[in-house]
Symmetry: C2
């Protein structure tokens, strides 16, 4: 068994694909150690933040089908990576492949979603590339700046730090569950909030940060792996978005399934040293924002969560790999989660 087999599935695959590529001496971050790429600008104290993300799998699987939602998410997924490194937004480049026969009304809704998200994120459109083809493909590249050159990465958490989320969690999971498993039901409303202003504040207080784009448990697993720590989380009911709790109860699923991913709600998960918590909270209130304290960083590698007053262990790695291990089949995936629920899990 070589070392790569101990990596999460998708990290191992990406490492193999990127293995032969040369790296830049200007780059501050190692691969996978921050949500956006961090490039020191020669002759300037600033660090450039760059990220690129397409939502092709979400379109192809049918998870996103509403054109306005596709437009909004094309921008939001990239903005979320800038937020997680605490960058100020500079702008965005769009990569669009539009079907030649796309109805005018859908095209307008798509562009409307892009436009509204850009405006909500403070990301002007700098340019892009528009192609025409058989299938809709949407992606973007977002650019941000960290003027003082001190970015926030996924590394830096230590035992005792308080764990925060920028908002309630589980809505991404509830939305995906409804879309993929209950095609006749109305999914919960899903339009993630841009967290760029919050990210810039978080950067001045947090020891590490990552967004929940792949689901909160994946995020916890990655932060645990990179920092060699665990997490002791508070009551599940207080962590979950009310719509996620309702969705779980209606479907008779254990509520923690809504955090299991692989589709998240694009909130920020971050850690703040205990002595800085009061000052951080005060500044957050100044933004009209109430970050949610959800737990504490523990020294061990294990993560636990409080369910009905009982602390139960979450095997974050097994949960994170479950979708890939199920070959992407949603029913097989649920069966795996039930297996983890019956075992040492909550």
């Amino acid at each position: 068994m070589n070392a790569a087999t101990t990596l999460p599935r998708e990290v191992a695959l990406l490492e193999r694909l990127a293995g032969g590529f040369s790296r830049s001496a200007l780059q501050c971050n190692q691969r996978h150690e921050s949500d956006a790429e961090l490039i020191r600008l020669p002759g300037s104290p600033s660090v450039l933040a760059l990220t690129t993300d397409a939502i092709s799998e979400e379109i192809e699987s049918g998870l996103y089908s509403d054109p306005y939602c596709i437009g909004w998410m094309t921008v939001l997924v990239n903005a979320s990576d800038l937020a997680a490194v605490g960058a100020a937004p500079v702008g965005i480049l769009l990569n669009q492949t539009l079907p030649s026969d796309m109805p005018e009304q859908e095209l307008e809704a798509l562009q409307g979603g892009v436009r509204d998200a850009c405006s909500a994120c403070g990301l002007p459109v700098l340019g892009g590339d528009t192609n025409f083809g058989a299938r809709l493909h949407m992606g973007a590249c977002a650019v941000g700046l960290i003027p003082d050159g001190q970015p926030l990465t996924r590394r830096g958490a230590t035992s005792g730090d308080r764990v925060f989320a920028s908002g309630p969690l589980g809505l991404g999971g509830a939305f995906a569950f409804a879309r993929m498993m209950q095609p006749d039901a109305d999914p919960p409303a899903f339009r993630p909030t841009p967290r760029l202003a919050e990210g810039q504040l978080v950067r001045r207080y947090a020891t590490c940060c990552m967004d929940t784009s792949d689901g909160a448990i994946s995020t916890l697993d990655e932060l645990s792996r990179l920092n060699g720590v665990g997490f002791t989380l508070g009551a599940l009911d207080g962590i979950l978005h009310p719509a996620a709790l309702t969705a779980a109860r209606t479907a008779r699923l254990p509520p923690w399934f809504m955090l299991a991913g692989p589709h998240g709600e694009f909130e920020l998960l971050f850690t703040v040293p205990e002595p800085a918590v009061a000052a951080f909270r005060a500044e957050a209130r100044g933004l009209g924002w109430e970050p949610k304290e959800i737990g504490v960083v523990s020294p061990g590698p294990e993560t636990s969560i409080s369910v009905s007053g009982r602390s139960v262990r979450l095997d974050t790695r097994a949960v994170r790999d479950a979708f890939a291990d199920a070959g992407g089949d949603t029913r097989a995936y649920l069966a795996r989660l039930f297996g983890l629920n019956a075992g040492p899990g909550p």
Copy 2:
């Protein structure tokens, strides 16, 4: 008739799509006025150059099918835009959607093409986004820096400036003609040379520059439109790549068809004031590079080329729009070019 109908087809469409998007006060260039987006960095004299380009249409149409070529071109098309603004390369982000069933050997050839082009361009891989889906999709976002903040754009040519190409032209057309019209013949070898070092030199001498990614005649048409000038080009035989001349003769096509696009050879087309030509040539020799002087900027809007000692007018706009006007059908497109050849054309 409104003003938009006087724009080239693809410019008019892109203007309509981008019309509702907000712009950045930091952006130096207007839309379509430079090959890469130019962003002034706050607190620094530098200008950032950003570009993003996918090669989905080339893959979907079958123009590019060799995986190594697809990898090479994914990087090269983006590097070429950095070259055309005279930026120093910083790095590149890759956007890949890989078919889950892609044979290992093809995946390795694809990544090999990316790796070799990055190395040839001096563009380290900063990061990217890898998805898995039904069809191969490749794109990238390249980043460059203009340390003194003086970028090269498509605007600035004046009558009397000398017109240069970074290399012989028409190979992109010859390759596309062979691939799309002669499926049983071997296409000419096609692996465009990165022009980043040349672009940085050109920036110090040229009044305007644009790459020939969409074919040389499209480039001339765009530079003519943006600068309100025309071009008097020298002998066609001296402008064309030998393989393009051979391809035209073998297929009994007028040789200028090889410049008609819409697939070009990714050379730089630029204009240098006459008094600066000697110094420019001397510095180019220092790079081991021999730029090709192909004509002179004229005051009028018309472009002409010398064919067998006779100056003949090229209707660059009609040639540029011919592929779109033919609905992308290659035989109808050739028929249109023959129509332009019989008329006032060469």
